[in-house]
Amino acid sequence: MTKSSGSMSSAAQPRPGRGGEARQGPGNLRSPLGRAIGAGCAKQGVQHWWTQRLSAVALVPLAIWFAVSMLSLPSHDYSTVSAWMAQGWTSVFLILFVLSAAWHSQLGVRVVVEDYVHDSGTKSLALALVTFFHVVVAVAGVFAILKVAFGGAA
């Protein structure tokens, strides 16, 4: 095994223990600073972080409104709920609710994938699937609401 004679000079050497080898595989002679800088700065992240907060704030009143409305409906059979959904403002709020929830969830699940999936191929694939999934859910949700709102029977 590698002898460590001072951490700076031996930094490029593989070292056993606690994930050391996993992090700096053998044959990696890049300088520590080079490794810390890596591929540099992606110049993004603010938008993601801010929209995650905004959508969270939007979800608070929408979720409360949704819960209160559901609880105050006289019954939850199909005709009562669809009649409620078909009212103008109800549809609008429901669509906002579905879109904010899908948006917020997409942003959050994306972070989870980035946190835990480290292989870049698997990560790209997972992120693409996450995006597609949320788009499908959002479109299907909006479509269903509109269908009830405009079409009556579904």
């Binding site: 002898k3 951490s7 930094a11 056993p16 606690r18 994930g19 992606a42 993004q44 980035e114 480290h118």
Partner: protein, 260 residues
């Protein structure tokens, strides 16, 4: 994927027990992580029993006692023994702290001592901090200014301006915070971690520095900065009572504010 188990060569086996002398009245046990890179063997946990009265006041005193009386091969870093050099950071009873200012009186009969979590281990309690230091260097922790300093004196700061950087500048780079941060465990190859981000913040808000903008530019990255999920472990463990989590939140706020 994230690692849910330690790599095979890092799994801990049972170690040896160094019994206290028969005559000992009150015994204290130190269960210490040992790793010898030359042996080719997995790490182990050795138990050192000491007469309680001979341990000294602080965890570091006990470690020095063990090294000088029981096993001279025990490796750990220390220098100032007063909480200012940051060398003796280690994981004591599950918390990252400085051995030299962690009083044995606050700990139980049995004390568990490990190196800082999730770092490559050089030997025993000595972690490899190369990457941690390189990340610190990568935020350019020095004054950047185009305006030359006045020829006859230093660059001045008002009292209020100095007070802003007073606490952040007190960081001793012990790495207790970064190595307690789950985000840093999973993504330290790209996430800068609380210590380096606190240093970046300290220079961003320094009234004499003229590169705040560039510094913010260099941090606006999903990994370098935004892996922080405000878990707050960093602030909980900092032995100097600093608040890296708040510094990171302030950086995020500045990045939003400069957009509109």
């Amino acid at each position: 994927m994230a690692d849910f188990r330690l790599p095979a060569n890092s799994r801990i086996r049972k170690g040896v027990t160094h019994k206290a002398p028969e005559a000992a009245r009150e015994v204290r046990a130190f269960r210490i992580y040992r790793f010898d890179p030359d042996s080719g063997e997995n790490p182990r946990v050795d138990t050192f029993e000491l007469e309680a009265g001979e341990c000294g006041q602080m965890v570091l005193d006990a470690l020095i006692r063990i090294k000088s009386t029981v096993d001279s091969s025990l490796a750990f870093r220390r220098s100032c023994r007063e909480g200012i050099c940051g060398s003796c950071a280690m994981n004591i009873d599950g918390l990252n702290r400085l051995a030299c200012i962690t009083s044995l009186h606050d700990l139980g009969r049995e004390v568990h001592i490990y190196p800082l979590p999730h770092m490559p281990v050089v030997k025993d309690l000595v972690p490899d901090l190369t990457h941690f230091y390189a990340q610190y260097a990568s935020v350019k922790p020095w004054l950047l200014a185009e305006t030359p300093a006045p020829p006859d004196r230093e660059r001045l700061q008002s009292k209020a301006e100095q007070e802003k950087i007073d606490r952040p500048a007190a960081c001793i780079l012990c790495a207790c915070c970064s190595t307690s941060c789950p985000s840093y465990w999973w993504n330290s190859d790209r996430y800068l971690g609380p210590a380096a981000l606190l240093a970046a913040y300290r220079w961003i808000i320094d009234s004499r520095d003229e590169a705040s903008g560039q510094r913010l530019d260099a941090l606006e990255d999903p990994f370098k900065l935004y892996r922080c999920h405000t878990i707050m472990n960093c602030t909980d463990v900092c032995p100097k009572d600093l608040n890296p989590a708040k510094a990171i939140a302030e950086i995020k706020k500045m990045l939003v504010e400069r957009q509109s």
